[in-house]
Symmetry: C2
Subunit: 179 residues, 2 copies
């Protein structure tokens, strides 16, 4: 039972170090030292360094897939509110993972498993824009998508304080006549 615990411990430590020093700023040596094992042990549990990060962000990626699938079933009238609240809930739940993904972008967008991420964020963007074809709505959606992500990464406030403020600013910016 020590076996499985080592793997979990690697993920825990790597998550902390990647968050604090960035992915490139954290070496296998750093992780091994903190875990109290050798680099070889790291690479017994994970094929390579990238695989550690992939494992860390996998739950967030799955949640994004679920959200996009759910939005596909929402009609045009409710799409903006559903996309805004769904996205904000998602990034607040996975703040650390969002920070990690932004840290390694765009390098990881070439990873096969992350190539599909483009389509996912594009679907989300369309939801923010209320499925409008107007470029101005498209741009506004991008501003909010990027801005909300930036805030959950940098801001130290907790989600209880952030959530209503984020929802409010997104609604003002994206839904006409709602302020």
């Amino acid at each position: 039972m020590v076996r499985i615990r080592t793997r979990d411990e690697i993920l825990r430590v790597a998550g902390e170090l990647f968050t604090r020093y960035g992915f490139k700023g954290t070496s296998l040596h750093d992780i091994a030292a903190e875990v109290g094992c050798s680099k070889a042990t790291l690479l017994y549990h994970f094929a390579h360094k990238d695989a550690i990060l992939l494992a860390l962000v996998e739950p967030a990626r799955q949640s994004l897939i679920d959200l996009v699938a759910r939005l596909a079933g929402v009609d045009d009238k409710g799409i903006r509110v559903a996309a805004i609240e769904g996205f904000i809930d998602l990034v607040l739940r996975y703040r650390r993972e969002v920070a990690l993904i932004y840290d390694v972008t765009p390098q990881f967008l070439q990873e096969p498993r992350f190539a599909a991420m483009r389509e996912l964020t594009e679907a989300l963007r369309a939801g923010f824009a209320g499925r409008s074809a107007d470029p101005a709505d498209h741009i506004a959606a991008e501003v909010l998508l990027g801005g909300i992500a930036a805030v959950v990464i940098d801001d130290k406030r907790d989600e209880v304080e952030l959530r209503p403020a984020l929802v409010a600013v997104a609604r003002r910016a994206l839904i006409p006549g709602k302020d």
Copy 2:
């Protein structure tokens, strides 16, 4: 006259490569090969790799200092519009430099010359929030600041199309009753 041209050429090439492959993704070898000189020549003109990037973003940094100084003289009534338009004009003018700064953040925020950048963006943030003390206004300002930066970095549209859309979404989001 070849002397000064080599330095300029290094900056030109480094700007391209940093933009395309990122700062860490570009080695001195890469730059030297593209310029057609040796790594040693690079380090004759610049003390180290970081100095090349600092030189590239210096004009943008100066413009930000100027903008913040200008905003200090604007009264509360006009501060939000002045901050919004000033910031958007700035980042549209220095799109490449903004992308570079975001690429190397937060590592470079520890650089002495860039430590002051925190105060600068904080002043800008206060302007976006209309100098309000309400945390919700603070958060909304952060969303717009980060979102606008994200768009000028990623979006391929030209500034003629981006500028009015960015100003419009920022005004809707930040200035009550103006949509």
